[in-house]
């Protein structure tokens, strides 16, 4: 897959939809494209966060350690962005992400990510939207849990 194809893919992701193509090209060019085998982990819960990942191809599962062992809490696929929370608020990784089968991801380093966020307000807004949505989901789940 060449740089241009990566750029096309990035444009379809809501987070990057409003960024001009040349900037997306820079983003793709300066990010590493990594291939993972099934079972390999993108990162491990508790690690220091140094990068966010955009899944280009394949699927991954988000797993959280509990007292009863690891459980899968979400499934990720093409176009999903993962790992941005740990680099945004400097907390250790809140979950592990493991490739389920062959996976290709674009690895955006913390520095680059911050640069994008500070340069393009659209990205900040998209991230806020995403975070708010997640918070809303969590609230719903919490309510359900309490009502049960």
């Amino acid at each position: 897959m060449s740089l241009n194809e990566e750029v096309d893919l990035l444009r379809k992701i809501p987070l990057f939809a409003k960024i001009e193509p040349s900037k997306l090209k820079l983003l793709a060019f300066t990010s590493e494209r990594l291939t993972y085998q099934g079972g390999q982990r993108l990162f491990q819960q508790g690690d220091v966060g140094d990068a966010a990942y955009i899944i280009i191809d394949g699927t991954a599962s988000v797993r959280i350690r509990t007292d009863g062992g690891e459980i899968e809490v979400a499934e990720l696929g093409k176009g999903d962005v993962v790992g941005e929370i740990a680099i945004l608020c400097d907390v250790p990784r809140t979950a592990s992400v493991e490739a389920t089968g062959r996976l290709i991801a674009l690895r955006i380093t913390k520095e680059l990510f911050f640069r994008l966020v500070s340069e393009f307000p659209q990205i900040s807004i998209e991230i806020m939207r995403e975070l708010a949505a997640r918070l809303e989901r969590t609230n719903v789940q919490l309510r359900e849990a309490l009502n049960r």
Partner: protein
Amino acid sequence: MESTIFRFILRYSKREQILLLVMTVISFPFLYYSLDLPKRIVNDALGAKGSTEFPVTFLGIEFQQLEYLWTLSGLFLLLVFINGGFKYWINVYRGRLGELMLRRLRYELYSRILRFPIPHFRRVSQGEIIPMVTQEVEPLGGFIGDAISLPAFQGGTLITILFFMFVQDPILGLAAVALSPIQAYIVPKMQRKVNALGKERVRAVRVLSDRIGESISGVQEIHANNLARLMLARFTNQLGRIYDIRFEIYRRKFIIKFVNNFIAQLTPFFFYALGGYLVIMGDLTLGALVAVLAAYKDLSAPWKELLAYYQRKEDARIKYEQVIEQFDLPDMMDAETQLAEPERPAPLDGELRASNLSLLDDDGEVQFEAVSLTLPPGSHMALFGAGGGGVEALAMTLARLSYPSGGRVTVGEADLHALPEAVTGRRMGYVGPATYVFSSTIRENLLLGVMHRPTGPAADDPDTRAALENAGKAGNSTDDPDGSWIEPDAGGDGPDPVVRLIESLSLVELDDDCYSLGLRGTLDPDARPEVAERILAARRSFADRLAEDPQLVDLVEPFAADAYNTNATLAENLLFGTPVGPAFQPDTIAAHPYVRRTLDQVGLTGDLLRMGRDVAATMVELFADLPSDHEFFGQFSFISPDDLPEFQALLTRLERVGAEGVSEEDRARLLSLPFKLIPARHRLGMLDDEIQARILEARAAFARDLPEDLQDSVAFFSADAYNAAASLQDNILFGKISYGQADSVARVGAVIGAVLDDLDLRATVIEVGLDFEVGIAGARLSAVQRQKIGIARALLRRPDVLILNDAAATFDAASQRRLVARTLEAMAGRTVIWTTHRPDVACLFASVAVMRGGRIVETGSPDELDREGHVFHEAAAQN
């Protein structure tokens, strides 16, 4: 040391100086005859006197006039040769003598530096000492050769000529010397002031070199504090002082010269006036006057030489005295203590006892006092105390690096500070808080711990023999530095230190560092063919492992002669080898005429130019609006921020005139870009299959037609040959680590490690790592690595007493504790003293002595001391 330069000369070169003198004296009769002959030729052979009757008898043979002229002229020619011969021999001998004496002087000065008391180095700077040994004494060598024979020769010549003049005519002789007394009175008077200025100049230049040395050592502070302006002003001030002094010296020197010249010019006046009068009156023959005038012309040369000699002598005298006073210290270690070689260094395995030890520093400040310690053989003790509490100074005194002001240290029966260094430096070990690492390999830095004396005969070749014989003549060391120096049985029986090198590395956890350095290092397959062979076996085994495991197979893209490697640059793909020397380096390869010819041959130039344009356009598009100091430029851009505008302009030109229209310079610029392309990394999609196939064609053509003179500029990849120009790791990989495989470097590293362990090659790699050059003062290593080298160096000789002066302070807590435990294990049964300010480290020792305010306040086992009411307990609680 001899207090004046003449004492030094007489002490070390009396015989040579006498020989020179004798040869000089022997040469005088010939000189005299060569002066006398012209007179005979004019007067007798030419008959200027008019009284000669031919044939004449000369040396018992009869001569006619013409024959007589030929004979005398021939004799004159012969004398010219003889005089020249004498001069040549004397000059060469003198030069050689001067060089030998200079060599001796420098050696003496250097050996004194090695014996300076260590605290002295706090008062003198490198900047002052180095120029003394290197530059200041340099002119002394020339002077020493001339010291006695030159005044003898020139003085003798002068007297010979004067004698000749007096023989010709006493009055003319008198005229020639009439003004000399005046000169002899005035010149030294003027010279004295020049001498004083000379002394001042030497001092000022020393301050100057000190300034430079300080600026170099403190260059970080200068940058960090914006001190450049102040430094420049101070330096200027010093230059100004030197300028003033030197200018004053010149002025005075030229006044002296003027006086001398004036007097020398005045004398001929007497000759013409007086001599002319005498000739006219018939009291002097014209021949004699001609001869006297010729002689006088010869007279001015030695006279000038003598005056110059006088000035040089004064200069040399001052320089010598000024240097010597810096090297004659009252409390210097004597050479015997430093260099004496005992039959067999007595072991220091007795009880170590310090009694009432005290140390005052230069200002009379107490470093420590009333220290009494007893360490039975084999005890392991921590000296616990905060910095400045006297712990460091005590450790240095116990290691015999500084001398106590009071009290003494004994080991067994012997007074430690009276023992020769051959005992303390071999049976003791000391590691300070900042080990100095010499600019050499890691291996040599470790082995320095056991290189005390030559342990084998000097190399038996004529060059070495001659060099050592010459060294002996100059009073230098006659040990062969390239011979064998490694003590085979350092620290008792057991394997050779060379064998124990790797063991001592793992003791200080330096083996992993050396392993990675070794993987990056190179190996000479001609010198070690069996190792190269085994590395090739590792290459095959590595390839097999990767091929067998589908998880690993994509990690490395192997080199293949008939395939384009998408993880390598275009340059690497074209070369299919490792560049050796400057010709085909990544930055220059695109401009190399042979590369350009090859590209033309396979018709690639146009395509590469197009790619260059595309790369340039992409770079301009991506990076144009980034600030020029952005980190992305260094990490990702093919074009530096400074060049970016130029490429922008170039692209505009290209659009206007096309690829054929741009200048050769522009073409070269564009061509250089695609050579750096790595398809798997850059993903620019420019190197399609068709281009790749053509580059493979170019690869084949490049190798096939490579001219003779470029054969050595590239080491081609070959699946079954070791590549001497590539690193060990690259030789094992025989390919490129793939971009885009998660965690590839670490995973490849693990596979290499497994392969090397399988083939038992890890130690070999570590050994290659030992040959890593550490740079000036170990600058290419980290502070912790340097410290580890220091500790391994001391452990390598298995000392009876090992003193570690806060030697692991730069380590993190866990590795410091590990290191202490391992060291104590390795030193079981031998004495260890370890100073530390960390209670947790002190607790690892059998006993602890706690120091505070320069005194030992309590001693005991950690358990005894770590209780209520003990200083140690308080300190541990605070920690």
